[in-house]
Symmetry: C2
Subunit: 158 residues, 2 copies
Amino acid sequence: MRLTTKGRYAVTAMLDLTIHCDDKPVSLAEISQRQSISLSYLEQLFSKLRQSELVTSVRGPGGGYHLGRASENIFIAEIIDAVNESVDTTNCQGKGDCQGGEICLTHSLWDQLSHEIHNFLNAISLADLVARRDVKSIAQRQVEQLLILNESPQAGAC
Amino acid sequence: MRLTTKGRYAVTAMLDLTIHCDDKPVSLAEISQRQSISLSYLEQLFSKLRQSELVTSVRGPGGGYHLGRASENIFIAEIIDAVNESVDTTNCQGKGDCQGGEICLTHSLWDQLSHEIHNFLNAISLADLVARRDVKSIAQRQVEQLLILNESPQAGAC
DNA sequence: ACTTACTTGACTAAAATAGTCGGGTATTGG
DNA sequence: CCAATACCCGACTATTTTAGTCAAGTAAGT
């Protein structure tokens, strides 16, 4: 099982994308500022997200990214899969050749756990996360902090 | 979340210990052979398992390890904890200071997942695993393979 | 044109993993 | 007693992965 900052960053960035505007594309620079993730690293992650068609890109000035489909239909497990982090906890990637070609003693345990985690993450969509109270208030705080920092009196709402 | 070979080896070794004899202590050399885990590495793992009182040791010839308590009362989550692998999936170890002292957008998601995984692994005891059909047959195979390899006609049963 | 912002690929520092190695020390069977 | 067994312990190391950086593009809007 690999579930590290890479997968967490990807989910966080996708959630940020979901929250901020459905009309204009969101640039990576914005996400980078709001979520404190390095721009170069985001580029790497979004390259994979685009290949998996979880986002679509708009190039040129005013460009950025859109969600590939409705937020109700994008599930957390997909995002983590897209950035190459497997949620699999077995040693043999589920193949069952863990001990010199044979199955190992604890294979079925890890196989079961993998399914458990996958089911959990595949039952939660981006829309579900946006609806959460804590997510709403944190997103609000992040926008306010940026307004103060930038001192640019932009229209706060999308 | 860290769930790698270290944790898997620890659980596998503990399960092997549970399966093979409750009377005589089981030596690491035996476990090493049956489970294809390097002896030196097992020593490292058992040092931690002993500190957590999940096993007790008997030194000298004929020595080895016993389970620290009944297999019904040793849960998988404890074993993984003992070898220093945290099942926590948050970036801040649950503290909530993920984004420059503040909570990050996806904190509650990872927090919830961590609890989910912990609950799953904490509901399964070594005794539960031993009772599984697949574990029984794999253990049987492992013993038979060793008997052939060693060609030493030891009493197969404990 | 010029700028913005996506696109790609190569490169790298730091950390963690998965071990090895070499010395111990306790115990016991002969 | 003494040699063999097997636990005990700490230092060391190769490999892999993570978490990025950097540079050189390409496409598109103003």
